[in-house]
């Protein structure tokens, strides 16, 4: 194999050692499970809990909050409006509002919290090796809670996220957040109520058209926030990311929590990005199934009980990084100086101005980028990235060597690595493998990704199994993509254009950035900055040289470039395949569901015949993102129909875009092997 080039000389010394970059932030992580393993959980659960509170807090019970919300001008206004429109008596609508509140509202209760503190201690000790928290962030949070209302914005990879966050806050004697949870949890007997008592409030997944629901919900969140009653917690991503890539943000809740500041009902609000990184995600296999179209099991208590067999497994480490609280006032400074709410009474619902919408969107992206920056990357993430470029199997020694090389590159790109420095590389890789035996295993000196070796059985089933395995492994590699995407897109642009002229490279870069802007998180509207960062990182690892007009790949650089290309090839090729599908198959208007089904069978066929090797194209996530990208590129048109959205494709535009996808892309070469 050509990869042997990388052998010998470099063994043991990573090519791009950036010791100074080995995460300066890492030192102050503390494992909170350690203490749990040494002292009584019961005492822990029953201990005196006196969190610091917001300086202007006027304490009130959950029921009092409901009353405030129900009688607020905002809700009353909407009730009156609806009553006028529907000819219904306001009392009936008010009652409806009260029911919504009851369905939604939390009822935080110390007993439930102590119950959770106890059981979660047991559970977490069983499941996880450690839960590492950056204490500095905790201290800043503690300070922030006293100064202004706080919004906690964690990343969302697992249902465990919110339990974990509350657990950590309880451990540090911090105010427990009130959490926006999907209403599906309410379907769970007992557990739903328990969650409610531990501070969750429930929102319907969709309530676009229901003005009353929106008004009650928005006012509820704002009341909790404004009174400083408790920090409000929700997920910008809206749902758990099945791919472990950060999802593009949703703005609804962010709009709501920013509203009290924009209307100057509070002096400031702190937004706290929180990054939760799992060494092994509890739902990993479920996610892969879901991506392949096996429906998500309904949240139910019995389902939870069935899931208890996972208690016997080891899910490794968790890192929670509490980011610097961001002052909304500071973020808004110079952007929205004049309050746009001066001319309309503040309780009358108003559509936010474009200026505000843009601001909300920018804040959302900024926070997600901060979440990404503080995500901790485990060795397994590097291993899986290497593994996926060497299917179906790779020599163990080679794997270690390549992983070390990738470690260097990751550090060079500023990835926040958690590498066990006390272990030799061999052992580190081995220990990672042992944590993920469900994905890959070491057989005769070869590391094999499960189910990728062609075996007997129906072709359909084999493909499904293989896809499952690739997506599962991919969900770890994906965590690296956010760190690599900018240099990778520069590399892609370099390859696509076959040119060293900077503007040409940039325009190609900007095209791909636009194409992938649902797939990866880019700050909106500044592709130049992303380009510069990508170039800078590539320069930093000596992969390219930049002159004022030109960009050259260095001799050393081709390895890096090829690696990056290979890393992102599943996405590039996936999008190409989807384009091909559309140009061949789709004629009339189609729904998203039909589209996904169509792509799936089209791609399965390709996989079967060896037309492609990238199983990622089977992932509904990629399919949806690609469709969104095509809409953005004006290739597809989205129209709202009574039963949802339908799409239609403009053939002309499709041919053009497909051309841009394919053109001048070199015929598939075994790039991987060149590493």
């Amino acid at each position: 194999m050509a990869a042997a080039v990388a052998g010998g000389t470099r063994r043991g010394t990573p090519m791009y050692s950036q010791k100074n970059l080995t995460s300066k932030k890492k030192y102050d992580f503390e494992d909170i499970l350690e203490e749990r393993r040494q002292s009584s959980d019961l005492r822990y659960a029953m201990r005196c809990y006196t969190p610091v509170v917001y300086k202007e807090l006027s304490p009130c019970k959950p029921s009092a909050i409901k009353t405030i919300v129900l009688h607020s001008e905002q809700v009353q206004y909407v009730i009156r409006e609806l009553s006028k429109e529907m000819g219904e008596s306001p009392d009936i609508i008010q009652e409806e509002a009260a029911e919504i509140l009851d369905e939604m509202g939390h009822s935080m209760h110390m007993g439930a919290i102590r119950f959770f503190a106890f059981t979660l201690s047991k559970l977490f000790k069983c499941l996880f090796k450690s839960i590492c928290v950056n204490e500095e962030g905790i201290q800043k949070l503690q300070q922030a809670i006293q100064e202004h209302p706080v919004v906690l914005l964690p990343s969302h990879r697992s249902y465990v996220d919110f339990l974990l966050l509350s657990y950590v806050l309880y451990t540090y004697d911090l105010a427990l957040p009130v959490i926006a949870a999907g209403i599906d949890f309410l379907g769970m007997k007992v557990v739903g109520e328990l969650l409610r008592k531990s501070g969750a409030f429930f929102m319907r997944r969709t309530f676009g058209g229901n003005r009353l629901y929106w008004a009650v919900f928005a006012e509820y969140v704002k009341t909790v926030l404004k009174n400083g009653y408790a920090p409000v917690e929700f997920y910008l991503e809206g749902t758990r990311s099945r791919t472990a890539k950060t999802l593009v943000p949703k703005f609804g809740l962010l709009n709501i929590v920013m509203d009290p500041f924009l209307k100057r009902e509070v002096f400031d609000i702190y937004l706290v990005p929180i990054s939760i990184s799992y060494e092994r995600v509890l739902e990993e296999s479920l996610y892969a199934h879901e991506l392949l179209g096996v429906p998500k099991p309904k949240e139910s208590t019995s389902g939870l009980l069935k899931a208890r067999k996972i208690l016997n497994e080891n899910f490794g480490k968790i890192h929670m990084y509490f980011g610097q609280p961001l002052s909304l006032r500071t973020l808004a400074a110079g952007r929205i100086n004049r309050c746009p709410y001066n001319l309309v009474p503040r309780h009358i619902p108003q559509k936010p101005s474009e200026e505000i919408q843009e601001f909300v969107s920018d804040v959302a992206y900024k926070i997600e980028l901060l979440q990404i920056e503080n995500m901790v990357l485990s060795p397994w993430i590097l291993i899986s990235a290497v593994l996926l470029q060497n299917l179906p199997a790779i020599n163990f020694e080679l794997l270690v060597e390549k992983t070390l090389w990738l470690k260097g590159l990751t550090q060079c790109f500023g990835g926040f690595l958690d590498w066990p420095d006390n272990l030799c590389a061999n052992k580190a890789v081995r220990s990672s493998l042992s944590l993920h035996t469900n994905i890959a295993s070491l057989v005769n000196g070869q590391v094999v990704l499960h189910d990728t070796v062609m075996g007997p059985g129906a072709a359909e089933e084999t493909i499904f199994k293989q896809a499952l395995s690739v997506l599962l492994c991919g969900s770890y590699r994906n965590q690296l993509l956010n760190v690599f995407v900018r240099p990778a897109l520069v590399a892609l642009a370099l390859q696509m254009t076959h040119s060293s002229r900077k503007e040409e490279v940039y325009s190609s870069f900007a095209f791909w950035l636009d194409v992938f802007s649902d797939e990866f998180i880019f700050f909106p509207g500044v592709p130049v900055k992303d380009f510069e960062e990508g170039c800078y990182l590539l320069t930093k690892c000596d992969a390219i040289q930049i002159t004022p007009q030109q960009i050259f790949v260095t001799e050393k650089g081709s390895t890096v470039i090829s690696f990056l290309m290979a890393m992102f090839r599943p996405f590039v090729e996936g999008y190409q395949i989807i384009c091909r599908y559309l140009s061949k198959e789709a004629n009339e208007a189609f729904s998203e569901k039909q589209f996904i089904f169509g792509v799936r069978s089209f791609a399965s066929q390709l996989l079967k015949t060896g037309g492609t090797q990238y199983y990622e194209v089977l992932s509904s996530d990629m399919q949806k993102n690609a469709l969104a990208a095509l809409v953005r590129l004006d290739v597809a048109k989205r129209t709202k129909k009574s039963d949802g959205f339908t799409y239609s494709v403009s053939k002309e535009a499709l041919i053009k875009t497909a051309g841009m996808f394919e053109s001048r892309i070199p015929v598939r070469k075994p790039i991987v092997a060149r590493l």
Partner: protein, 638 residues
């Protein structure tokens, strides 16, 4: 209402007599001023007008031409009235003009030390007198001067006279007087004696292209009087103080025709002699003039009964470079296109000089009574004021101080005369804080002033106290109320004391809809604290507010900001940045650019966004038409 009853010691005496404390104060002032030395410059006789009976004798004015003989040249108010720290280190107010005169304020020093980090050891001494040679020389348009001399209108080029008219009472202006110098000051001061004199002066000014800046009481707090530094023409300061006659009083229509240079206290005193008043009492009324009120859209403390200046004026005469503007009759309301009075009101000396005003008058009220209410917190207080406004039963004045200001007012309590009083104070405090459970660090006080017939006042008082009770308010006696109002008159004197000890302060105001008052007050104060911290102010600032006026649709809010500038190299710049940030905050909170202080040059930067581009263009074309050569070149507003 135990507290109220217990407090009536000194208050009831005032209340039972028909004389109000305010009027007593004015009597004292006027008594003193009658003996004020006459200036060496005598008012030139006014030609061409038969003086009506009321003004037949030349009335004594509070403000002589050489104002510096009566007033401080580098601070607020009268030369003989100021705060000092006496030998025992206790604060004391000198002079006999004010009720507070001669009283020791034992709590003030501790308050300053505790709240502002001030200390008697750290003194910042201003220069004792004006260094004449520092004053920029008079740039004189000789032809103008020649023509002026032929008119017999009195004028002066004396540096002291000129410097006195180069400023208002903004912090930075006083700071320059204490330790600096203005880059540009007026070159000539003229004292027209009547409307016709003004017409003559403006004609000459147009003829010779000189810049005219009208000057009334000199109490501007918007940099309105500062001379533009790049003005190369001769700047004439037109001092209206000698135009202070009351031409006539019309008892049938209850109006008086008055020259615009009359200062508030003279106007009220002299109308009072015939049993009338205008009821217009801005905090600056001792020194500010009728013309100045018109030019800035002033607001008086008792506007709830009498209205603001725009409600009070029936007729205005103003001299502009285009000629004299006035209405042809004195009808109470007209529908004759946009009201031209509103071009004049708030024009801030950019269009012309107001010379004569017909103003509404009212019989002096039979009875006046102060009062006060303690609320458990500011929120409840504002809610109460809102309810009072909703029921349209606001007393002549109703003001709500926040907790900091309440505590500050407490620090200005004079030494108690007897053990009995101090015991009573203690009991009151115990009642409110312990028995009623008010938190001394949250409670706030509303001060009230009722006016009218005795019967009506008592009835009105009950109505207001009943509303207050619904919001947890407890009546807290007349004395507290009266002290609250006194505070507004002495606060400017207090600022001078502070400046001797590295403490600087200023006030600014706004108006806002009712629903935004609380948020605005809280946010602006928090912004001030934040900005001070970020700019290296070493001690927490004194940031406090009060709601001073209620309207149907909103309220006027007044802020005090003070801080200790020790350790800051450029305190004025820092102060200005903080005030500017506070103003930004006010605007972002739905507050107005100004309720009654005006725009001047201090707040120009925000005018356009406040009144829209078109509105701004309207004002600009107005100016363009009325004063195309920018004779009234103080550059306020636009």
């Amino acid at each position: 209402m135990a507290a109220a009853a217990g407090d009536s010691g000194s208050g009831s005496g005032v209340a039972s007599s028909s004389e109000s404390a305010a009027r007593r104060r004015l009597r004292i002032l006027s008594g003193h001023l009658r003996s004020a030395p006459e200036t060496h410059l005598s008012a030139a006789l006014c030609r061409g007008r038969a003086a009506p009976p009321v003004s037949s004798e030349s009335p004594p004015s509070t403000l002589p031409k050489r104002r510096q003989e009566v007033l401080k040249w580098n601070g607020w108010g009268y030369n003989d009235s100021k705060f000092i720290f006496n030998k025992k280190g206790q604060a004391e107010f000198t002079g006999k003009r004010y009720r507070l005169g001669g009283t020791v304020l034992p709590l003030l020093r501790e308050w300053i030390e505790k709240n502002l980090g001030g200390s008697l050891e750290h003194k910042s001494i201003p220069r004792a007198s004006l260094n004449i040679s520092d004053v920029p020389p008079s740039v004189t348009n000789e032809e103008f001067l020649q023509d002026l001399k032929t008119t017999n209108i009195s004028y002066s080029q004396d540096p002291e006279d000129r410097i006195f008219r180069a400023h208002g009472h903004c912090l930075h202006e006083l700071f320059l007087l204490r330790e600096g110098m203005f880059k540009r000051v007026p070159d000539i001061v003229v004292w027209p004696g009547c409307h016709d004199d003004v017409v003559t002066i403006i004609e000459l000014a147009c003829k010779h292209n000189v810049c005219v800046i009208p000057f009334g009481g000199g109490t501007s707090v918007s940099s309105a009087l500062e001379c533009p530094t790049d003005e190369t023409r001769t700047i004439v300061s037109l001092d209206t103080s000698q135009m202070n006659r009351i031409h006539w009083v019309d008892e049938k229509n209850l109006t008086a025709h008055v020259e615009a240079g009359i200062v508030g206290q003279d106007l009220e005193r002299r109308l009072g002699e015939s049993g009338y008043c205008t009821g217009h009492e801005p905090d600056s009324m001792e020194f500010s003039t009728l013309g100045g009120w018109v030019a800035t859209r002033a607001s008086g403390m008792k506007k709830n009964i009498y209205g603001n200046i725009e409600d009070l004026v029936v007729h205005i005469k103003m001299v502009t470079p285009r000629g004299v503007i006035e209405k042809n009759c004195q009808g109470p309301r007209m529908s004759t296109g946009p009201d031209i009075h509103h071009f004049i009101l708030g024009s801030e000396g950019t269009l012309g000089v107001v010379t004569e005003v017909t103003i509404k008058i009212r019989p002096v009220p039979e009875y006046q009574k102060y009062g006060s209410v303690v609320f458990p917190n500011f929120e409840r207080g504002v809610a109460c004021l809102r309810e009072v406004a909703r029921q349209r039963c606001a007393p002549a004045s109703i003001r709500l101080m926040d907790n900091q200001q309440f505590q500050f007012g407490h620090a200005l309590k004079p030494q108690v005369a007897s053990i009995f009083t101090s015991l009573l104070d203690g009991l009151k405090k115990f009642y409110i804080t312990k028995f009623k459970g008010f938190d001394p660090n949250l409670l706030c006080v509303a001060t009230l002033l009722f006016e009218g017939s005795r019967e009506k006042v008592l009835q009105h008082e009950k109505q207001v106290y009943d509303i207050a009770a619904k919001f947890g308010g407890l009546a807290a006696g007349e004395d507290n109320g009266q002290r609250g109002y006194m505070l507004t008159f002495v606060i400017a004197y207090l600022r001078d004391l502070g400046m001797d000890y590295y403490l600087i302060g200023e006030s600014f105001e706004t108006s806002a809809p009712w629903d935004r008052v609380l948020d605005l007050c809280r946010n602006v104060k928090e912004r001030i604290v934040k900005e001070c911290k970020e700019r290296g102010v070493q001690f927490p600032p004194f940031a406090t507010c009060r709601v001073t006026q209620t309207y149907d649709a909103g309220a006027c809010v007044y802020f005090y900001l003070g801080f200790n500038y020790r350790g800051i190299s450029d305190p004025i710049h820092v102060y200005e940045e903080i005030e500017s940030a506070a103003r930004e905050e006010i605007l972002a909170n739905g507050g107005s650019l100004s309720h009654h202080h005006g725009v001047g040059k201090l707040r120009k930067q925000w005018l356009k966004e406040s009144i829209s581009d078109v509105g701004f263009g309207m004002l600009r074309s107005l100016k363009q038409y009325v004063d195309p050569s920018n004779i009234f070149g103080n550059r306020n507003l636009l």
